[in-house]
Every structure is written in C-alpha cells, then in structure tokens.
C-alpha cells in the first residue's frame, strides 16, 4: 500500500485532520457560549449545553488523545473511570438534594 495508507493503518493522523478538529472545537465553543443568550433555547439549555460539552469531550478524547486510533484497551481503561466520575456527580446531586 502507498505511504499514506500505510501511515493511516499505523494510526498516524495527518496534521490537516488535527487542524480541522481544532477548528471544529472552536466553532462548538462559540455555539456553546451563544446558547444561553438565545431566548427560545432556554427550556432546553441544560441538556443542550451538556450535549455540546460531551461532544467536545469525546472529540478531544478520540482525536487529540488518539483513543480512536489506539488499541481498544486504552478506551476500556479510561471510559469506566469517566463513567464513574459522571455517576459520582449525578448520585451526589441526587442524594444531597434529598
């Protein structure tokens, strides 16, 4: 296979992709900041912001932190910890409100 395909197979990500991801993240941030100021989005503000934040999180993790291209074991190591972090937040908010 040609050099480019070889490098892709080896998990190498071209610089172009990184820059595009960076621009995507910047755009998402702009959208996020705008959401609270858009009146008609108020009712769905919280879930929308959470969703946007989650998308950014996943994008950084998958591309910048290379999880998409690395052996699966790393995703399996990190995601449960992440899930538990979320669980702690959700559980604490629930039990402390009780």
């Amino acid at each position: 296979m040609d050099a480019k395909a070889e490098r892709a197979a080896a998990g190498h990500v071209p610089v172009r992709t990184y820059v595009l991801v960076g621009l995507f993240l910047a755009a998402m941030t702009a959208v996020e900041v705008a959401v609270p100021y858009v009146g008609f989005l108020r009712p769905v503000m919280v879930p929308l912001l959470l969703l946007l934040g989650a998308i950014k999180f996943a994008t950084v993790g998958a591309y910048f932190m290379h999880l998409k291209f690395d052996p699966r074991v790393l995703t399996w190591v990190f995601v449960p910890g992440l899930a538990l972090g979320v669980l702690v937040v959700v559980a604490m908010v629930i039990v402390m409100a009780a």
Partner: protein, 619 residues
C-alpha cells in the same frame, strides 16, 4: 552464577546486605519484605491499642483510658490496623509474588514501587507522631464532620489525619497503577488473562478498586483540610453547608475500601485451598466472574453506612437491595472453596487451617452483613456493637486469618524456610478460640443496646459479663500473636541446610524458581501452557513431555533496573512538607513540597540507569 557488570546508571549496585542496599532497592522482592516487616510491626502496635480498649471495657465504670484518650485509641486502632498494618502486609505479599506468578522479572515501574513503600513508611510514622505532637486524631477513622472542625477538634489530631491519609492515598494509588500495568503488560508468553492465578486476579481487581475509590476520599480530605487550614466553609452549617457531603464522599471510598481489604484475602485462600486439597480451584471462571461482579457492586452500596441519616425510604431501599445482591457473588466464592475441598486429599497444614477458619468466619461475618443491609432493621443495629462484631468477623476472622494462612504458606518462598508446624497449630487454635470468644458476644450485646465508641457503660445492663468475656478473648488473641512471633524467631534461628523451592507441591509459578530467588527471578522467561502453570509443567515433565531435547547451558544477558535513592528522598520531602502544614509553618511546607516536586521531576527526567547481569542457565 550471576556476575554483575555495572553500567551507566543512577547508582551502581553495592554490597547486597548493606543498609544502603535496602534503602535504595527497587527489587520487588525486597520491597515486599520491607512491607511485610513494617506491616507486622505496626500490626503489633494496633494490637496493643486494641488491648487497651478492651481493658477499659472489661468492666463497667472503669477509668483506665477514658474521654479523649479513649477516643484517640479507638480512632488510631482503626487507622493503624487498616492502613498501617493489613494493607501493607497485603501489599508485601503482592509485591513479592506478583511478578513471580505471572512470569515477569519485576513490576512495571520498580522505582515507583519503592516510592510507594517509602511514602507508606513516612506516612505511618507521621501519623503516629501525632500522639506526641499535639494529640492523635480522636474523631473516629471515618472522621465525620462537624466533629472534625471548629471547636470540637481544636488540636492537631485531625490535621495529622488529613495529611497522613493523603500520603497513604498517594502510596496506594501509585502502587495500584503499578500493579495494573504489570498485570496487563508483563505476563509471560502463554499467560492469558484466564490463566492468571487467582491471587493475580484479586490483585488486579483490588488495584482497580483503589484507583476508582481513592479520588472521592482525596477530595473529602482536601475539603476538610481547607476548612481547617484555609477558612473555607464546606462544613459550616451556618453558611448553608450539608454535613452529609463529607459522609457521601467518605463512604464512596470507604465501602470499596473494605473490598480492597478482603479481595486479596479471597485470593490468598484461593491459592492455599487448592494446594492443600490436591485439586484445582473449583469453578475458576465463576470465581473470576464473581470477583468482577463483586467489585462493580461494591461501588454502588456506599450509603448502607448512612441508613439513619434521613435520606428517605426510596434511597434507603435502593441501597438495601444492591447491598443484599452482593451476597450472591460472595456466595459463589464460598462454594468455589468448598467445592475445591470436596473429595480432595486434604492436608491440614497450619496454612490450610487458617484458610478453613477464614471460610467459616468470613461466611458468618458476611451473614451478619446481610442482616445489616436491611435498611429498616439497620436503624436498630447502627452504631451498636453488632456492627463491631460484624466487621471484626470479616476483617479479623476473615482477612487476618487469610494473612496468617499466606504467611505460613509463602514463608518457604520468601525466606526459604518453613514455619514450625507444631507451634503453628497452637497459633491457629489459640487464634480461632480467642477470636470467636472476643467477637461473638459483641453481636448480642450490640442487639441488647450497647453503643459503639463509648468508653464505659453502667453496671446492671447485662453487658458487663460479656464485655469481660470479650476482653479475655482479646488477650487470648494477643497470646496467639505472641506464639506467631515465637514461631518466626524459632524458625529463623534454626540452621537451614536444605532450601527446598517447592515444599508444598505448589501449583503456581512462584514455586518454580530456586530458593532463595535470584534477583532476576527467571533466568529464562517461562512459557505458560495452562492454568496452574507450574502444575501443568510438573505433570508434563512427569509424562516426559517437556521442552525440546536435553537442556544445553547458555549464557543469558538480563537487564536489571538500578537501585535509586530518589524514592526515599521524595518520601522524606513529602513528610517534611506534611509536618510544615500540620505545624502551620508555611516556609517548611512550601520548601518540603516544592523540593518533593523538584525531586519527582528529577526522578522522572533523570537517567533511569540499568545494568546487565550475565546468567548461566538452561536454554
């Protein structure tokens, strides 16, 4: 025979038995021994604290240790035993055995391994100097707020607690990461995850539990420390704070922590019982599945320590149900061990006796745990001696007995000599009798209403006699421990001409290396051909089916990690910084922690070193 060719490194290897060689060692076997010896010494300290407590409670209205002193004894007894004794002893076993059991030469990060030990030692000493430096912590090992802030905790005890626990947390976290990476990455060829010895599985799961349960406790300690030292209001009711914040974060750690304690004990028993039953472990896959399930569930039950705080019936019901469900995987484990013994050729060595004692006593403690799990009746039992009886059954009758089993079983592996079996039998029976006499009555005096953490009680309540019985039992345990020490002494004094490397006819790889183990463990990394790898090799050898042709001797060049002084340096500096914070001398804390950070950078960025050993061995 090994010749050392020192190469460029952080430190050239020096004389084998010098003090310096122990201080700078990065060899997992030596680190393991240091953990075990230190842990045993601290265990004796915790045992003394227990005897003081039991003496005070032996009769109504005694005034031997009362008030603040008593509170400090109770608090320190728990902290000492849990963090200063049993966890390090367990760590000692793991350190020594893990690489051997997976066919590796050492753990993934030898210097971090040493760092974990030195931080533990510094932390244990630090915490115990609190007795002389302004008062040991006396608010219970779980340190509920608001008892630990403001006018209820004006002396330095809780500051020692915060910093000491943080240090111990760092030690445990670093060790856990080390063990996880070692198990994932450094197994010998052929050692798939489902050929791992049970003790390695339990090490893996224990380590994962620590990694995920330490963070909430770390945050909790930070919040408390900041309230005490930097004027925050996390636990100031007047500012709108909710004291349950402390409890939730604490038990999010505290419950998985008790599984951290017991899971390695499951591992030890799962090693000892098959060997002395002459049969493989019954239901290995089910055991692994049960352990994994147990670990996951243990993270979801923390508020069963908080049934009485007023969270309401819905939340209480959730925790009741999940807690009770833990008994299912636990039951599977018990049946695994019983199934292993069933129709086996059982050898009742001391190790096996302790293991069987574990099974019986842990089961009993587990049953009282299920009783406590029921939210409604928990209101009656919470904060009573019933709870004290319960957790001592699982932690002493369970964990400590398993540690004794491990000691008797692995003594030949670690020190090349077997503990005396006659003394061992006395040791066991005294311990078993003493243990049950101490803790069984605590269940009914608890149900009759005797609360925890009281330094005395009125006569005529019907608990005086049973408290006396319990105290007599406690001193019997003390005798049993003395017998164990005597056994150690007698064993080491004996001259040892023959050092058998596999005296029990073991099943796992640690018995395949010579005794004493060479620094590099395996001259040739083994090729694993099945579960119970060493047993498989012995059977194949007996059937004449080993390796290709007659072994020819060959020289092997093995890379070894260099000793290093950084671990002890970092640990000492962290200790200095901690003292600075406790004594409120800011310059000392900034200097201590700052230099510690610099030392960590130097350790990380400096030359790792390493040297080669030429070893003659079979090809």
């Amino acid at each position: 025979m090994a010749t050392l060719t020192p190469a460029a490194g952080a430190l050239a290897p020096s004389a084998r038995s010098s003090l310096w060689s122990w201080i700078a060692t990065v060899d997992h076997k030596r680190i393991g021994i240091m953990y075990m010896v230190t842990g045993l010494a601290v265990f004796l300290l915790g045992g003394m604290e227990a005897l003081f407590i039991r003496t005070q409670l032996a009769q109504p209205n005694l005034s031997i240790f009362i008030g603040d002193t008593y509170n400090r004894l109770v608090t320190m007894h728990a902290l000492t035993m849990v963090f200063g004794a049993v966890m390090p002893i367990t760590s000692g076993f793991i350190n020594y055995l893990l690489p051997l059991q997976i066919g590796a030469r050492d753990v993934a990060f030898p210097r971090l391994n040493a760092l974990s030990y030195w931080i533990y030692l510094v932390a244990a000493l630090f915490l115990n100097t609190s007795w002389f430096l302004g008062g040991a912590p006396g608010q219970g090992w779980f340190a509920y707020t608001s008892l630990t802030t403001g006018r209820f905790a004006v002396d330095r005890g809780m500051d020692f607690y915060v910093l000491g626990a943080l240090l111990l947390g760092v030690s445990s976290l670093v060790a856990s990461i080390n063990f996880i990476v070692t198990i994932f990455n450094m197994r010998a060829p052929g050692m798939s995850l489902f050929r791992l010895p049970a003790f390695v599985w339990t090490t893996l799961l224990m380590s994962i539990l620590l990694v995920i349960s330490l963070p909430p406790f770390t945050v909790d300690l930070i919040l408390l420390g900041m309230d005490r030292m930097f004027g925050t209001v996390f636990f100031h009711t007047a500012a709108g704070a909710n004291q349950l914040l402390w409890q939730h974060l604490f038990w999010l750690f505290g419950h998985p922590e008790v599984y951290v304690l017991i899971i390695p004990a499951f591992g030890i028993v799962s090693e000892v019982v098959p060997v002395f039953s002459g049969k493989p472990l019954f239901g290995y896959i089910q055991l692994v599945g049960a352990l994994i399930t147990l670990s996951i569930l243990s993270y979801l039950v923390w508020s069963h320590h908080m049934f009485t705080v007023g969270m309401g019936p819905v939340i209480n019901s959730f925790f009741t149900l999940v807690t009770m469900s833990i008994s299912v995987p636990t039951g599977i484990l018990i049946f695994n061990w019983l199934g292993t013994m069933w129709q086996g050729k059982i050898r009742y060595t001391t190790a096996m006796l302790f293991a069987v004692g574990f099974i019986a006593q842990f089961t009993f403690g587990g049953l009282t745990g299920v009783m406590l799990a029921a939210g409604p009746s928990n209101f009656q039992m919470h904060d009573s001696y019933f709870v004290v009886g319960h957790f001592h059954y699982v932690l002493v009758g369970g964990l400590v007995f398993a540690l004794f089993a491990g000691a008797y079983y692995w003594m030949p592996r670690v020190f090349g000599c077997q503990l005396d079996e006659r003394l061992g039998k006395w040791n066991f029976w005294l311990a078993a009798i003493g243990f049950n006499v101490t803790f069984l009555p605590q269940h009914w005096i608890g149900l009759w209403g005797m609360p925890r953490r009281v330094y005395t009680y009125a006569p005529g309540l019907g608990v005086g006699e049973w408290n006396l019985v319990s105290t007599i039992g406690a001193f019997t345990i003390g005798l049993a421990v003395l017998l164990f020490l005597q056994n150690l002494y007698v064993t080491f004094r004996r001259s040892r001409t023959v050092q058998e490397s596999d005296p029990w006819d073991g099943r796992t790889l640690e018995w395949s290396v010579p005794s004493p183990a060479p620094d590099h463990n395996f001259t040739v990394i083994p090729h694993v051909r099945g579960l119970d790898a060493w047993w498989v090799e012995k059977e194949l050898a007996a059937a004449g089916l080993t390796g290709p042709g007659p072994a020819k001797r060959q020289r092997h060049r093995i890379h070894m990690p260099s000793p290093s002084y950084w671990p002890i340096v970092v640990a000492l500096l962290l200790g200095v910084g901690s003292y600075g914070m406790v004594l409120r001398v800011h310059a000392v804390s900034i200097l201590g922690f700052g230099l510690a950070a610099a030392a960590i950078f130097a350790m990380a960025f400096g030359d790792v070193g390493g040297y080669y050993v030429d070893v003659e061995g079979e090809a």
